[in-house]
């Protein structure tokens, strides 16, 4: 039988089953159930949990643990993630795998504590300083949180690029039935040749570092990162295409908003209107090819981008589609959430 789990708790359990053995965090609503769960759960599996003195300390503990080869993660919400950006940039510079969860709340500043998607730019365009990206997922259900989190460490290890799971307060708090996967066998994981395990006495030193002072060396390093991002785009890009094959109107949305949009699509279909939903599952890399392909379909007249922000993902939608079809926008922000009926009303008023 499936279990009823809250998004935050399901992510924590999936992380443990996926091999997380080190968690460093600092409390903030609406993601507190993740550190709370980890605080007792990691001890059961012989892991390490630290409630750090600040977000800055927490992310640097992740840096250290990841550098030493551990499967380490942290979680926070918008203002806390902003504080972690320096550390995230260093981790990316040092090419360390780890997982970062952001259960987004309304901003800017301390903002509010209700759900938002206004950290899309920060998550997908860098966030900290330097030429880097994270591999960013935008799950839309508790089960998808579990599935993505469970494999996140494998993917992060493979490319030596941090994975960010970009949720929102709603996804963190919602409870849904989930099926939990079996524990991964960590004894079968390959040794990380670059990690500072501290066990190769007498041999060459391992150095984890993000300081590359020579421009030629740093440029080559940035190209290496770029090649990695291209490889990730080729292998890991994921999306959901729901009823777009004959659609006149394609609604685009990610995360929980995509579910609200899916209900809107169902209502509009009942009204006899040909509407579909195109949902990126990876926000970086963005599913450019699929968006371009759908835009080229003759039946498609208009895109409607729906977000819990004043318009952030819409920029990627415009780039990916080359704007060969108009891209309209419907959003709520500040912690307010639209209903399916709100989207239906917008589409009926602005498009039909």
């Amino acid at each position: 039988m499936k279990e009823l789990m809250k998004g935050n708790e399901a992510i924590a359990e999936a992380a443990v089953r996926g091999g997380c053995r080190a968690f460093f965090g600092y409390p903030i609503t609406p993601q507190n159930e993740i550190p709370e769960y980890m605080s007792w759960r990691l001890f059961e599996v012989g892991g390490t949990y630290v409630q750090a003195e600040s977000e800055v300390a927490a992310i640097n503990m992740v840096y250290g643990a990841a550098g030493a080869g551990a499967r380490a993660m942290t979680s926070s919400s918008s203002p806390g993630i902003s504080l972690k950006q320096e550390g995230i940039s260093y981790i990316c510079g040092a090419r360390l795998p780890c997982v970062i969860v952001n259960m987004v709340r309304g901003g800017p500043g301390l903002g509010g504590i209700q759900p938002a998607q206004s950290d899309y730019f920060q998550a997908t365009k860098g966030g900290g300083h330097g030429d880097y990206h994270l591999l960013v997922y935008g799950p839309s259900s508790v089960q998808e949180c579990v599935d993505i989190m469970y494999n996140a460490f494998d993917v992060s290890d493979k490319y030596r690029v941090p994975v960010m799971i970009l949720g929102d307060g709603m996804l963190g708090q919602i409870m849904e039935p989930v099926e939990l996967p079996e524990f991964k066998d960590l004894s079968k994981l390959p040794r990380k040749p670059w990690a500072t395990y501290g066990d190769n006495k007498g041999k060459d030193r391992q150095i984890v570092n993000s300081l590359l002072i020579e421009p030629d060396v740093l440029e080559a390093h940035c190209h290496l990162l770029e090649d990695t991002y291209k490889e990730i785009a080729k292998n890991e890009t994921a999306f959901e295409n729901y009823l777009c094959d004959d659609a006149e109107v394609v609604i685009t949305a990610y995360g929980t908003v995509a579910r609200i949009a899916k209900s809107a699509v169902n209502i509009l279909r009942e009204q006899g209107k040909k509407v579909g939903l195109l949902r990126p599952i990876t926000l970086y890399p963005f599913p450019n090819d699929e968006f371009a392909r759908v835009a080229k379909q003759d039946c498609v007249k208009t895109f409607v981008c729906t977000e819990l922000s004043l318009g952030q993902m819409i920029e990627d939608v415009k780039l990916a589609t080359g704007m060969i079809k108009p891209v309209k926008f419907f959003g709520r922000t500040g912690g307010n959430v639209m209903s399916p009926e709100d989207i239906v009303e917008y589409v009926n008023k602005e498009v039909y």
């Binding site: 039988m1 499936k2 279990e3 009823l4 609503t29 609406p30 504590i113 209700q114 307060g169 709603m170 708090q173 919602i174 409870m175 849904e176 039935p177 929980t256 579910r259 609200i260 899916k262 209900s263 809107a264 169902n266 959430v337 639209m338 209903s339 399916p340 009926e341 709100d342």
Partner: protein, 176 residues
């Protein structure tokens, strides 16, 4: 079948646990469900609500604009959510705390003296279970046996409270 329910009241009235009982029953019954609690600076005495969607198919939107069923445990909740109920839907009113009558004429209304019936059941804290019984009867989505199995399971560590909760459920379920 898709049953969209909004449950609202004071913090401490068991609003969230009432919603969770319905969610647990859904899993028990092999149905799909989403349970979305309100979260925020509320605490005991503040306002509290949750949205529950039960369906045969995977649930898309967890956000409910037009509930099929409103369970109003206190007066401010009825005032806030009464206009949103879908025409032809229904409102379950905790008449122990709400003297007002529902103004809408296009919905079915059930007045449940939940707090009094809870005392009759032997435990004043079971008012939400009385309402759960009424919901089970009115919605017809779950059998009383499923709900009782869930109640038994949830109180497995406090078996002493199970008889009062069963009685509260029966009193709610017996309402016309």
């Amino acid at each position: 079948m898709e049953n969209k329910i909004i449950i609202a009241g004071f913090g401490g009235q068991g609003v969230q646990s009432l919603g969770m009982f319905i969610a647990f029953a859904s899993i028990h019954d092999g149905k799909e469900v989403t349970f979305l609690p309100s979260y925020g600076p509320e605490m005991r005495g503040g306002t509290s609500n949750c949205s529950v969607v039960v369906s045969d198919k995977p649930v898309a939107s967890p956000i409910i604009a037009r509930p099929d069923i409103l369970i109003a445990m206190n007066k401010p909740s009825l005032a806030k959510f009464e206009p949103k109920v879908k025409p032809g839907g229904c409102i379950i009113v905790n008449s122990s705390l709400i003297e007002d009558k529902v103004q809408r004429t296009d919905v079915d209304v059930y007045y449940v003296d939940a707090n009094r019936l809870a005392q009759e059941a032997g435990n004043a804290k079971t008012a939400n279970i009385v309402v759960l019984g009424a919901y089970t009867k009115i919605s017809g989505v779950f059998t009383p046996d499923v709900m009782k199995a869930v109640i038994e399971h949830k109180f497995a560590k406090k078996p002493k409270v199970i008889p009062a909760n069963f009685k509260a459920f029966d009193l709610g379920y017996a309402l016309e």
